[in-house]
């Protein structure tokens, strides 16, 4: 419910975040005319205004305003580790709902939403579009079961850089239960391309706080590896490692100016989104202030 109170026009994003209320400063060839420009060789002769040439005997190029909407890509982690859940639903369910909610809102605003799901390879790819039926197709793709054995975030990031030439929003939803060695560099590359990146880190409360008590064989969902663990002794080490991991990830994001939100599956979804949007507004202001200052 809190999402509805947040008006999307609050987004201060240069490229016209959320449809309608803002105009793109970039000119393209579209319906709405903006101005004439003197022809210089190398311009596309298609856009020459021949009528004006007839009147003035000068070559002018007609310029139109481009309706630039946000292009958003949802990067979904589909590895087996996302299938863990202690609350009656898996992290995958939670992530899917989150992605669908985002997709829905963006789509409603007329923005193009694309999807890329990955595990160790890229599983599904849907280009960013905003047309009837696209959103439904996106939802259906989201509902496909997880198959991947492990997580490799580098590949999709690399791929998305190839695919997204114009700037856009990239939402990365994952449990990041993989080594983070090169992640920082990759995320930095994304932001360097001018993309805005938002990371949703989804964790189960049992993973976050290691709430087990019984000593038992633990089986790795991705690798099938077995390990006898007594929580009484192992919990401390786990928590330390987990905190390190989270810290490392958060640092990497902050360094690259990437929004980072940690969501455990017992948190209400709305709250996560609310935090996310608030953070975006905040960052927008920071960026603006920086721009003014600069």
């Amino acid at each position: 419910m809190s999402i509805k109170h947040l008006e999307l026009r609050a987004k201060v994003v240069v490229e016209g975040f959320w449809n309608g209320l803002h105009r793109s400063p970039y000119h393209g060839f579209s319906v709405e005319f903006t101005e004439y420009r003197q022809y210089t060789p190398g311009d596309d002769p298609r856009y020459l205004d021949w009528k004006l040439y007839a009147r003035s005997d000068r070559y002018y190029i007609k310029k139109f305003e481009d309706e630039t909407n946000l292009r958003c890509f949802l990067l979904m982690d589909r590895s087996k580790s996302m299938e863990f859940g202690s609350k009656g639903f898996t992290k995958q369910d939670y992530a899917n709902t989150l992605a669908a909610t985002l997709g829905y809102f963006l789509s409603r605003q007329g923005d193009a939403v694309g999807l890329m799901s990955f595990d160790e390879v890229i599983q599904e790819y849907m280009p960013a579009r905003n047309r009837p039926g696209h959103l439904r197709q996106l939802m259906q793709t989201l509902e496909k079961p997880c198959q991947g054995e492990s997580t490799d975030i580098k590949k999709p990031i690399k791929r998305i850089m190839d695919l997204m030439k114009s700037r856009g929003l990239i939402v990365l939803i994952s449990d990041f239960l993989a080594p983070l060695d090169e992640l920082e560099d990759n995320l930095a590359t994304l932001t360097a391309y001018g993309h805005e990146v938002q990371v949703f880190h989804i964790l189960d409360p049992a993973e976050r706080h290691f709430t087990f008590e019984e000593a038992i064989q633990f089986e790795d969902q991705e690798t099938g590896q077995l390990m006898y663990v007594d929580p009484a002794t192992a919990k401390k080490g786990y928590m330390e490692q987990m905190e390190n991991h989270l810290e490392k990830l958060k640092n990497a994001c902050d360094k690259s100016g990437i929004g980072y939100t940690l969501l455990t599956t017992d948190q209400p979804l709305e709250k996560g989104l609310f935090d996310f949007l608030k953070a975006r507004i905040h960052r927008g202001r920071v960026v603006q202030r920086k721009a003014h200052a600069g």
């Binding site: 202690s86 239960l177 000593a215 064989q217 089986e219 969902q221 690798t223 786990y238």
Partner: protein
Amino acid sequence: MSFLYPLFLLGGAAIAGPILFHLIRRVTREKRSFSTLMFLKASPPKLTRKSRIEHWFLLLLRCLVFLLLALAFSRPYLSNEQTMLLESDERVRHCLLIDKSASMRRDGLWEESLLKAEDWLTQWKQEAYASVYLFDESIHQVVSFEDWSGLNPDIRTSEILNRIKAQPPSWKATSIDDALLESLNRMEEGAREQEKESKQQAWELVVISDLQVGSRYEGLRGQDWPKHAYVVFDGTEPRTSSNAGLQALQSDWQIAEDESFIAPRVRVSNAQDSDQEQFEIQWKTEDNSLETTENLPMYVTPGQTRIMTAPKWPGDKRVNQLVLTGDSETFDNTIWLAPFKPRTSRIVLLAPKGQKQDSELEYYIERAFQSIPEHRVELIQSQTETWEPLAALKGIDLWIVTRPLNDSVAEGLREHVKKGGIILMPLTSVTMQNTLQVIWEDPVLEIEEATVTDYSLIGKIDFQHPLFAPFADPRFSNFSKIHFWKHRRILNLDLSQEELQIAAYLDNDEPAIITRSQGLGRIILISSSWTPKDSQLALSTKFVPWLYTALNWGRNYQELRTQYSIGEAVDLSSIPTEDKLAIRNPNGEVEKKSADKLYRNTNLPGIYEIEADNDFRWTFAVNLHPDESRTSVLPLETLESLGVPTRDPENAAEETPESREQRAEDSRLLQSQEIEQDQKYWRWMLLAVLALVLVESLVASKASPKQFA
């Protein structure tokens, strides 16, 4: 506590299962899947003692379930003192049934039966309860249970044998079913009287019989036998099996119109196991004084039956036997034949005065009631206007009124019929109204001509009505083809009278045939007539049979016949006398009897004569029941399939100490089964098992560790 099937208790060993599983379960490994092990370090497992049993309560429940199941299957019961006492008071009741039917007259059978009876009686010398009966069609008591205990054991056997010898085989048929059931009833009665003494008994019925296939045994079907009763069939072996029987048939005799030629139809049946095939039939006199030379040879294969016309009955009155020769058993080779006497019926037709050809009503009646040799029909037509000549007529079976009668005749007829007789009255026209009023004793009755477009049909028939009951079979019940062109309607008819019945309706719901009983007599009213101008009734195939049905209606006695079987009752009520009758049997003994009674003493084959004071004479022959000639041995399996609990004579006869012990053991088992049946503790145990399983499921579901989805 005792157990019916103690071996099942071994099933209790199954509790080893749950105990073992409770131990083994610790060894099995559980796994928990987790998203990643990257932050985890393996910790050394804590050892638990394998012999330790967890969930003691569950284990207890599971063991209890198995124990109770084993206990329930072993069928426990509590034997108290009373039942133990009864156990020691076990008794056997014996009943000896000896066949004395006609087939036991065969060579040597009766003597063999006596020997067998002596054997059994000697064997039962020390027994306290026994009874002896002879049987043929019915059961004849020789020694009852009370008599048995009253007789001195030393002379008992010879005394009883003497009594048996005093009743040699009769000529009657065999009813094994009646004999068994009746003796069983008497045993039950005897047992009830001595109920206080002993409850536990075995009832042994020993049947000494030739067990011929001709015996009646159908009555045993569906009989509920007491558990402790059994039947021992001790069969007598005939010395020779070749037997053929001769029977006279009641109908289809060849009779000339003037009775100058009479030849009865006979049936010869050869037994299944017979060696003979060639036979001859011959007429004989009672004292063999006159032998006819005319023999009829015939060939009948074993197991077959042939029906044929016997040689012509010789004119000599003394000749009254047909004898079959060629087989080895003589008891069923002679049939007695009484002189032929046709049945007579007298019918009075009150037809209109005048020319016969004018009245089609009479024409059809004359043709319908034709005399045949077996049935003489005397049709008396009368146009008289006074009652006196009619009153003088005797023995009238049917009055047919087709014309209006004057009051004196109608009243006379009405009063006469009240004493017995039938009036058949077709309403030929509305002029019959007056006659109907007088005969019906209802002065308000009116007849009017019904208006009919085209025709009427018979709409509804009461096939329960005696007039139509013979036609009730669907093959004969179609009366719908008879068209009624005209009919008359009776007005003011009180349909609520009890004695009035409407046997048939027309399709417009008006009565077609109304009957009413009046005193002992009856009136049949047809609302149309059988002439072709009124209806197609006379043209229908139903007409003649229906008239004969009307003629025979109300005859609640049987006509005297000339042929009867042994034991069959002779209905004397048709004899027109009110005095006592004298009946002479073949032995020459004379019995006085009232005319309205049944004569049942047809115990001997031969010629019987009835004499009444008013010069009435009737001769009839009594012969062996045809079933007695079927002397092949009845397979015991037939009786067993009817539910008769049989036992081998050898096993029953020779009672060794071992067999007595075995029997005692059997009866103990039987008794404990009965006690267990009464108590039925196993049901409660099964209920407890169910409850325990339920509790076990609940406890187990709570005890099992919660798992992540």
